[in-house]
């Protein structure tokens, strides 16, 4: 035995292992049954939740097999890789085994094979051999792409063929599955999947990734100009809408309102509406009570924003939030500090402690300043993702549908119309073969024979 044969033998064995359709069946059924687990155990939850649900022993056992993120576990991925190799090897093996059928320039026909077909149609025709041959040839030409007339030992045979290419349908489906997996791989290597919350009026340039505890710089800024949520009368949400602006170095480049199912795409990054919430606003609601008239005026105010108090009571500016503010040596907790400038007096510092809303009454001034509830504003929660593999996947999707249709409903068909002189008449035998759905082919042959027989105007 030569060295080459020894090396080739184990390779052949591996190749043979992967050409087995039995392997395909085992892999498909294993994938089907094991996949059930992940639809019964919630995936990617907090470990403590699992521990509480299953107890210590089962938790460790499930964790060992990666059942809490089972579709990304080593053994599940291995099954998918094995199936992929199986698909590729089987397809190559079958294409090379059938290359004489798949790749031919001029189809050949085997008369004996047609003569052996059990279900064929025979009728006798009064027309001359030439006449009937013309009619039959016209019929075959009309319905079959290739046609060919040949003399036989008893007369003439007219052959027709079509749909040889449909034999590639099944390989198209296999290719589509491989494309889906390649597209998925491209996405997981070169893409990202993250999220970001943006308060109304603010912008961000980085997002949090879902898989790792990591932030990602986008290279541009996303600003949320506005967020709105509307509800139906039933209380169910009707629409979540964020008005977004993309900024490149501070310059506005794109503006779009996004809703669920209508994302914003920019430079290969897509921004999806995924959640929302409320946060305290950076504005405060202040109340100014005029001691003289008893009128209460409320105003929203941000830091360093000059407010003019009505009734010519002066102006007020909010300066800062002071943590653990002191008043006569006592800690009064967090307090906002502002400057009140009455019209004919010196400016005074005003303390507005969060804990004591009517604190300013003690000052006994002409105006009492109070701290109202903090104003609230929305933030929008965006899913921010980039997947350069998605077009490979979509190509796979299209090929899969086309491939399934070809594989299931189209076939490679051959027809043979044999003409034999029988006394003054001509005997016509119509037979056909198809690589799939032979019952339907037999029906088609029946219809063809019927049509040819009826084409005789005399009969």
């Amino acid at each position: 035995m030569s060295n080459q044969a020894i090396v080739a033998d184990p390779l052949n064995k591996i190749w043979d292992f992967f050409t087995s359709v039995r392997l395909t069946i085992v892999l498909l059924l294993t994938l089907a049954t094991t996949s059930i687990i992940g639809t019964l155990i919630p995936q990617n939850q907090d470990p403590t939740a699992y521990f509480q649900a299953f107890g210590g022993f089962l938790y460790r056992l499930f964790d060992l097999f990666g059942l809490f993120d089972m579709y990304h576990s080593w053994w599940f991925q291995l099954l998918i890789v094995l199936l992929t190799i199986n698909i590729i090897v089987c397809s190559i093996d079958r294409i090379s085994a059938n290359r004489k059928i798949l790749f031919v320039k001029k189809p050949t026909f085997n008369l004996a094979r047609f003569r052996n077909i059990k279900r064929k149609e025979t009728f006798k025709d009064d027309r001359s051999a030439d006449q009937i041959q013309e009619v039959c040839l016209a019929f075959v030409k009309r319905h079959f792409r290739h046609h060919h007339v040949e003399a036989t030992d008893t007369g003439t045979a007219i052959y027709g063929e079509k749909g040889r290419w449909t034999r590639f349908g099944v390989y198209t489906v296999h290719l589509s599955v491989v494309l889906l997996l390649i597209g998925g791989l491209i996405g997981s290597i070169f893409g990202f999947d993250g999220w970001v919350n943006i308060p109304e009026g603010e912008s961000v340039s980085q997002i949090r990734l879902r898989s790792q505890e990591q932030v990602l710089q986008l290279g541009f800024e996303i600003r949320c100009d506005d967020f709105d949520v509307s509800f139906y009368d039933t209380g169910a949400p009707k629409e979540f809408r964020s008005s977004l602006t993309i900024l490149e170095q501070g310059r506005e480049v794109v503006k779009k309102d996004i809703i669920v199912n209508d994302p914003l795409r920019y430079k290969g990054v897509s921004m999806y509406q995924s959640s929302y919430g409320k946060i305290p606003s950076n504005k405060l609601v202040l109340s100014f009570t005029s001691v003289k008239t008893g009128m209460i005026y409320t105003r929203e105010a941000g830091l360093d924003q000059l407010l003019t108090i009505p009734e010519k009571l002066g102006t007020f500016v909010l300066k800062e939030l002071r943590r653990s503010a002191k008043f006569r040596g006592h800690d009064i907790g967090d307090a906002y500090v502002g400057i009140l400038s009455p019209p004919n007096a010196d400016p005074v510092e005003i303390l507005l402690p969060a804990r004591f809303p009517s604190f300013d009454k003690m000052r006994k001034g002409e105006v009492v300043i109070g701290l109202g509830e903090q104003a609230q504003r929305y933030f929008t929660g965006l899913q921010v993702a980039s997947d350069p593999g998605v077009w490979v996947v979509y190509t796979g999707f299209i090929l899969m549908i086309i491939g399934c249709y070809i594989t299931f409903f189209m076939s490679h068909q051959q027809i043979c119309v044999e003409l034999t002189a029988s006394g003054k008449q001509t005997e016509v035998i119509v037979a056909g073969t198809a690589n799939k759905n032979k019952t339907a082919m037999a029906t088609r042959i029946e219809a063809a024979a019927d049509k040819l027989a009826k084409s005789n105007p005399v009969a």
């Binding site: 359709v21 039995r22 395909t24 069946i25 498909l28 059924l29 994938l31 089907a32 996949s35 059930i36 992940g38 639809t39 019964l40 919630p42 995936q43 579709y71 998925g184 999947d193 139906y232 039933t234 169910a236 949400p237 009707k238 629409e239 979540f240 809703i259 669920v260 199912n261 209508d262 994302p263 897509s270 999806y272 509406q273 995924s274 899913q383 921010v384 993702a385 997947d387 998605v390 996947v393 979509y394 999707f397 899969m400 549908i401 399934c404 249709y405 299931f408 409903f409 759905n437 019952t439």
Partner: protein
Amino acid sequence: MNSSGILSIITFVYGLAGFGYIFAWIFKKKSVSKAATWVAIIGLAGNIIGIVLRWVESYQMGFGHAPLSNLYESLVFFAGTIVIIYLVIERKYNNRVIGAFVAPIAFLAMAYASLSPNISDRIQPLIPALKSNWLIAHVIACFIGYGAFAVAFGVSLMYLMKQKSSDDTGSIMNHLPDIGVLDELNHQLVMFGFLFLSAGIITGAVWANSAWGRYWGWDPKETRSLITWFVYATLLHARVMRGWRGKRTAILSIGGFAAVMFTYFGVNLLPGLHSYGSF
């Protein structure tokens, strides 16, 4: 009368058709089976009218959408799909015994929709996640697939019963189509269903990508639909490549339909994005 009123009557029409087919098969009454076909056609017409009317009603309520958005509406559509597929087969194969095995499935789907206290027949506005042009394509593709698999399930049951029965000429099993015809019909239906299931999963994936930025997320419903796809892919490969016929493919077809049911109703086991009505 409103659409849900019509549809609850259709439940009984389908029930009557199913009863007629079974009665005609057991007591060998051809006239009854012909009548059952007419009852089924009337039921289908009512089913379609109910769906169209529900569509109109949703517009009258001010939040119009295709009636394919919750469990009730999907069951009604499912029942209609089963009956359409069945009637086409009845015409093509000229055999009404199949109806005895298929019409009851449509009846059960409709009865579950109309009579179960857990299923609301109220027309509800669409939540933001469902507002998409993909909704119609996705649901229709999935349920044509499910409908074909349901009929294949009935045909597979017939296969197993016929295969077990003796060749006794008096047996009612004699009126079942030939065993080879049943086997071929099962195969045809599974191919048809597989094409539409694939289209359903694909439209769902494209939709998910436009809504959440991912075409596949191993959500329980997605995974179960993939399990169903694996089971039927197994059947197709076993039949074409390994020559499995008859009993084994009938059992796989029944197993596939069990996977369909698990996909369809398993939503309550683990809540996900498909648990009808909540987001």
